[in-house]
Amino acid sequence: MRAALAGERVGYRVYRLERLRTQCNFTSQQIAATPDQIKHWKKMSARLSNIQMQEAVRKARAKVESQLQFGPATEDAIGDLLDAQLMSGTSVKQALDEADKIYERNRQAFDQAKKSCGKTVSLAKSFGPSRDQDTVGWCFAFASADLMSYKLKKPISAADMAINYFNSRQSPVTRWLSGKKQSEYRGGWEADALKQTAERGFCLESKFNSEDNGNNEMAGALNRAQEIKNSWLKLKTGACTNDLRTVKALFPQLTLADLNHSIVTSTQSSFISKLATEACEPRLKIEVAPKPLIERGPNKSKLFANIDRQLNAGNPLTLAMYSEILIDSDSDGRKDQHAVMAIGRRFNELTGSCEYLIRNSWGSGAFAHDPIYDRDEKGHVWIPREKLNDTVYATVHL
C-alpha cells in the first residue's frame, strides 16, 4: 500500500499540473497529461477499501506533521499525502488547499530549523577513515574506542575494549559452561565498556588489532587463535612458530614466550583474554568518567540538547540507536540496536534539515548506508535530525 502510494506520486503530479494550470492560465486540454493522471489515480483508488484509504491519509498526514517538527516536510511526504487524499475521495480543491498550507508552514519550519540548528561543527579532521567491525557484533566497542582515541590522541583497541566488557559481564566458568566462542559475544553498553576498560587500562590498537586481521575476518581470526588453546598437545609441547603467526594476526607484538605463558596460565574460555593481557602491557592508565544520558519517547529534547552542547564544546559522543534507518532511510524498523558516534552538525540549506555527522563502524566506503545521505571521504554520513530523533535513545560522552 505504502509502496504503491510512494511509487505512483500521482496526487503530487496532479497538484503541480493543477497549479501550473491556474498560475499560467493553461487549460486542462493544454496540459494533456492531466486527464490520464486523474484516470490513473481513480483506477488505483478502486483497488483499495475505504478504511485502507483513510488509514493511508492518516499515516501520510502524521508523517508530514512529524517532519514539520524538525524542518520542512519533504516533497515525497507531501506527495504521499496528496496521493492518499485524492484516492480517498477528498476534493482536489481541498487537497490542494491543505498542500498550500503545508508549503506555507514549510517556509516557517525552514527558518526555525536553521535557527535552532546553530553553527556548523565538524570534528571529522581528528578522525581517520571509518572503522570496519566486519563480522563481529562489537559496534559499542568501536564507538567507545573512537571516543577514547579522540581523547588520548592515540588509537585505542576496540577489540580489547569488547573483551574487557564481556569478561566483566560473565565469569570464566559461566563462559565455559555457555560454550560460546569469544567472537560470538555481541552487543554492549558504551559507558560500561569505557568504565571496565579504564579500570584495567587502555590497550593501544597497535598491540591488539581490531580490524585487518589477516587471511580471515575478525571472528575467524579469533577462532583460529582459540584453536591453539583447544589443542591439548600444545600444553605439553608448547606453541610453534606457526601458532605465533596465527595469534600475531590479532596481537602483532606478542612473543612466543608470551604465547606459551598464556597457554599454560589460562583456561579455554579465558585464553583470548589472557593473550590480550600479555599483549597489551603496559596499559594506558587514565581515569575516565563516562556520562551517559538515556531518553526514550517521541521527543528527545534533552538528548539533542546534550548532543548539541557537547559538539559545540568539541566533544564527540557515542549514540545508541536502532540501525535500520542507516541502511534504509524509509525503514520504520526498531529492532536492531547499534552504536555509532556523533562528530558534527550542520544545517542543510537544500533540504532545510539539521543534520548530524555520524561516524559508524561499517567501513570507509559507506555504501552500506542509504545513498540518500550525504557522506564525506572518510565514510562518515550526514543524517537528518528527524531520522535520528526516531531512533537514537542514549548518548555517552566523556
Partner: protein, 155 residues
C-alpha cells in the same frame, strides 16, 4: 544478465594497473581492469598478492576480472540470491556488507586495493572459485535489486 557486472562490462584488458588504461564505458563512467595488487595483513604482516580485477572511476567498487567472462560464482550467487531484505542485514553482529557476503555464500576480509599509485581500503567478499566483489558493490547491487522488486510489485 546481472547487475553487478554491468558497470564493468566491456572488453578485457590484460594490463598492469601500474600503467592503467581507462576507457569510457557505455554506462557513463570509466572502468579499469587488469593485473593489480591486493594488500592484506597475513599473520600480522602486510602481504601483497597479485590478482586481476576491475574498478570504477572513483575506485569505490571492485570486482574480480573473472566475472567479466560471465561465469564467476560471485555473479551466479548474486543473480540467484539478491535481493536480500535490508531488515536481514542490520543487527549487532557485523556490518551489513559482511552479512550480505555471508548470505551469498562468500567470506569477507578487509583488504587494500592498489589503484594507480595509492592504496584504497575496502573489503573483499571471496567465493569458492576465488572470484570476488567488494561489499559496497554487493550493497549497491542489492539496493538496485530491491528497487526493481518494488517496481514490479507496484506494476
Amino acid at each position: 544478465m546481472i547487475l553487478f557486472m554491468r558497470p564493468f562490462i566491456s572488453k578485457l584488458f590484460f594490463i598492469s594497473l601500474s600503467l592503467p588504461i581507462t576507457v569510457a564505458a557505455s554506462l557513463a563512467y570509466a572502468e579499469t581492469c587488469g593485473l593489480g595488487e591486493i594488500k592484506s595483513l597475513e599473520f600480522g604482516l602486510s602481504e601483497v598478492s597479485n590478482e586481476t580485477y576491475c574498478f570504477d572511476d572513483e575506485a569505490l567498487f571492485f570486482v574480480s576480472e573473472s566475472c567479466q567472462k560471465g561465469s564467476c560464482l560471485a555473479e551466479k550467487q548474486a543473480t540467484k540470491r539478491l535481493p536480500v531484505s535490508h531488515l536481514d542485514l542490520g543487527g549487532p553482529a557485523g556490518t551489513p556488507q559482511s552479512k550480505l557476503c555471508e548470505e551469498l555464500g562468500g567470506t569477507m576480509r578487509i583488504v587494500e586495493f592498489k589503484v594507480k599509485e595509492r592504496w584504497v581500503k575496502s573489503d573483499l567478499c571471496r567465493f569458492s572459485d576465488q572470484s570476488f566483489a567488494n561489499g559496497d558493490l554487493l550493497m549497491k547491487e542489492n539496493r538496485e535489486a530491491i528497487q526493481k522488486q518494488k517496481e514490479q510489485l507496484i506494476e
